[in-house]
């Protein structure tokens, strides 16, 4: 058997795991790995900051459903990944993170560029490994991919010391992975007794709501979710992690729920008699105050993670399992059952709420400032709801949920759990590599965009046709909104003077344009959507525009503020 260097074993394992692209940055402790990459067919994308590499791997994973991979050196290289790893962890994104480490005999010695990366990332990874023996490397990489991509997915970090990458050992590819402490498949089908109980509740409910979360997307359950909705006739709302899994153009769609969800949707959730949670986790942005959340409903909760059950909201029928498979079982049972409860009164009530509280905004007056919502409406129309959009965090992120029409899963890519500013551009790059034929748009704010603006260089390097649209209001808009509404208009440090983004874009070798008037929106977007250049559109917007409705902190979900009037 031919001996191979640890680093070569690593690249060989990545190839066998089906990795076609990895995002990384070289340094002292991963030089042997970079040397092996020199001979490897795997595409490597050189980022400009390691945080970008982590977000790119994450964006790639969300866009494709495959495991994303990133690579950094020891110490600062690895610590720069931390925000990206935490982002992926909070949203359960499958990712394998490879870091170089100082030589095994130097570990714990405060060596140059040493950091206890396994220690630092322990609470933000699904699992992590420090490989101390090159003979264990192949098995470890195999286990890392297995753990990252199965069960409730998540990031797994593999820390590889320099001497382990350099050591020459026999390469043995483990055909099977068996971990006695990790057997997610046991749960995949859902317990038949629980499924029966759920079925009985569904057939008895007069005011049901289906509430779909990111788990349904992870599980690739789009067809099952849509069929389940049709079979039950129940309204469907999604979290921002699952936008598009149910088409918003369909009359059964209630679109997004929660802090900035439509008022009618939150009323429906609050007053339903059966809430069917499909792969969501009763996040605090959805429930508002837990004690007053949807008090009259029975609750079914389908989730692959037992720890999600009864974590914040007590449920009546938990079903631990993979959404796709559990829904398939439920759908089969529903098809065999002819009788259905009459939901017409419930739909009448919902339509009344929708009529009374439409999701809307005040359009610009003639000659007035540009409204950010309008930009999204035009974008939605021009792309026919088919683009793949990444966002940063804040007002623009919520307006995108509200004013773009989402019809396909894995098209809205956002940091939902951690809420990471600076996520959008690198995630767009990762998504574009994963789905080269899609039109990828990075929607950003003037605060967020500068947080990883350096990755424009990466995008330009690879001639990626990514279109960044900055809703520029010269403020940290969401902070300003909270200060205005809840901190007596004391605008403490939320004003932020943005650079000339169009000029900055040009400096990076991209194209840039600034627009300030509503009438410039359509022609500008039409123009940039057609060509294959990397564009930055700096859209100067009204700074007083706010995201409505909003559930104020500490309130119930039917205590929304609808506007400032």
């Amino acid at each position: 058997m031919a001996k191979m260097k640890g680093a070569q074993i690593l690249t060989e394992c990545l190839k066998r795991e089906g990795v076609d692209v990895l995002f990384g940055y070289p340094g002292g402790a991963n030089l042997p790995i970079y040397d092996a990459l020199y001979d490897s067919p795997i595409k490597h994308v050189l980022v400009r900051h390691e945080q970008g590499a982590a977000h790119m791997a994450d964006g790639y994973a969300r866009a494709t459903g495959k495991v994303g991979v990133c690579l950094a050196t020891s110490g600062p290289g690895a610590t720069n990944l931390v925000t990206g790893i935490a982002t992926a962890f909070m949203d359960s994104i499958p990712m394998v993170v490879i870091t170089g480490q100082v030589r095994t005999y130097l570990i714990g010695n405060d060596a140059f560029q040493e950091a206890d990366v396994c220690g630092i990332t322990r609470p933000i990874t699904k699992h992590n490994f420090l490989v101390k023996d090159a003979a264990q490397l192949a098995r470890t990489i195999r286990e890392a991919f297995y753990i990252a991509g199965t069960g409730k997915p998540g990031p797994v970090l593999v820390d590889i010391p320099v001497d382990v990458s350099q050591a020459e050992v026999d390469f043995v590819w483990p055909e099977k992975v068996e971990l006695r402490g990790y057997k997610p498949h046991r749960f995949y089908d859902g317990h038949p007794i629980q499924v029966d109980k759920a079925l009985a509740l569904i057939l008895g409910a007069k005011r049901p709501v289906i509430y779909v979360g990111g788990g349904a997307v992870m599980s690739n359950a789009t067809a099952e979710v849509r069929e389940f909705a049709k079979l039950t006739g129940a309204p469907v709302t999604t979290t921002c992690m699952a936008l598009g899994i149910y088409p918003e153009s369909d009359p059964q769609s209630l679109r997004m729920l929660g802090m900035h969800g439509a008022a009618s949707t939150n009323y429906a959730v609050q007053y339903c008699d059966l809430l069917i949670n499909v792969g969501a986790r009763f996040d605090d942005r959805v429930t508002g105050t837990v004690a007053t959340f949807s008090p009259k409903s029975k609750k079914i909760h389908i989730d692959i993670d037992p720890a999600s059950i009864n974590k914040s909201i007590m449920v009546d029928v938990p079903i631990i399992g993979d959404v796709k498979r559990v829904l398939a079982v439920l759908n089969t049972a529903l098809k065999a059952e002819k009788k259905r409860p009459d939901l017409s009164d419930w739909w009448d009530q919902i339509h009344e709420w929708q009529k009374k509280h439409p999701l809307t905004y005040q359009p610009s007056k003639p000659g007035g400032k540009l409204k950010p919502q309008y930009v999204l409406e035009v974008l939605s129309e021009l792309t026919k709801g088919k683009c793949l959009m990444t966002t940063d965090v804040g007002q623009h992120q919520m307006w995108a949920c509200q004013f773009y029409r989402w019809n396909q899963p894995r098209t809205y890519i956002t940091s939902g759990g951690l809420g990471t500013m600076g996520y959008g551009l690198p995630a767009a790059i990762g998504a574009q590599f994963g789905r080269p034929d899609e039109r990828v748009i990075c929607l950003s704010g003037d605060g967020s965009f500068v947080m990883n603006i350096q990755e424009l260089a990466t995008a330009v390097d690879h001639k990626l046709p990514i279109k960044t649209i900055i809703l520029n209001n010269g403020n940290l808009g969401m902070v300003r909104q909270w200060q205005e509404m809840f901190y007596k208009r004391r605008f403490s440090h939320s004003g932020i003077r943005p650079p000339d983004f169009a000029m900055v874009a040009q400096g990076f070798g991209a194209r840039g344009v600034r627009i300030t008037k509503p009438e410039e929106v359509r022609p500008t977007l039409e123009k940039i959507l057609k060509d294959d250049d990397c564009w930055v559109v700096d859209a100067i917007c009204d700074e007083d525009e706010k995201v409505f409705p909003i559930i104020p902190p500490g309130k119930a979900i039917d205590e929304m503020i609808m506007d400032m009037a």
Binding site: R122, G181, R186, P306, A307
Partner: protein, 175 residues
Amino acid sequence: MPAPNKHTLSVVVENKFGVLARIATIIAGRGFNIDSLAVGETEDPTTSRMTIVFQGDERTIDQVKKQLNRLVDVITVQDLTKGEFIDRELMLVRVAVTAKSRAEVMDIAQSLKAKVDDVGTRSLVLQIVGDTAKIRSALELLKPYGIQEIVRTGRIAMAREVQPENTKTKATSGV
């Protein structure tokens, strides 16, 4: 038996470096409080057993168990409190003595079946093995003489032979 709101978990884990840190990270990161923790190798040298005593309401304990189960290196989590079990702790206690009180303390030691592990001119070190109630009563008895130092192993526990059906393991937890 411990008070009803105390739970004794018996956790079998991979005998690998960093496992204790993982358990500690989950416990601290999720804001759980533990009373005691004892770790040692099992009959299978590739695994270790951790006996963890928690205080908390049912829901907290449920979360603790589930969060521990999530860890890849955790093989089984058993809540011994749900059935009959034996628990023991070892305590070393240094008690102040004078020429006058020495005999009295030795008497107490004998009645507790404690071993006298060190005899000094001003103190005695007693080794006491027992369940929580015994350790507590020993401390009460010795307190008047002046307790100078206490070292406890933390509790270890083992289920009795007949286990009730509701003792949960990893395979069925949370269903």
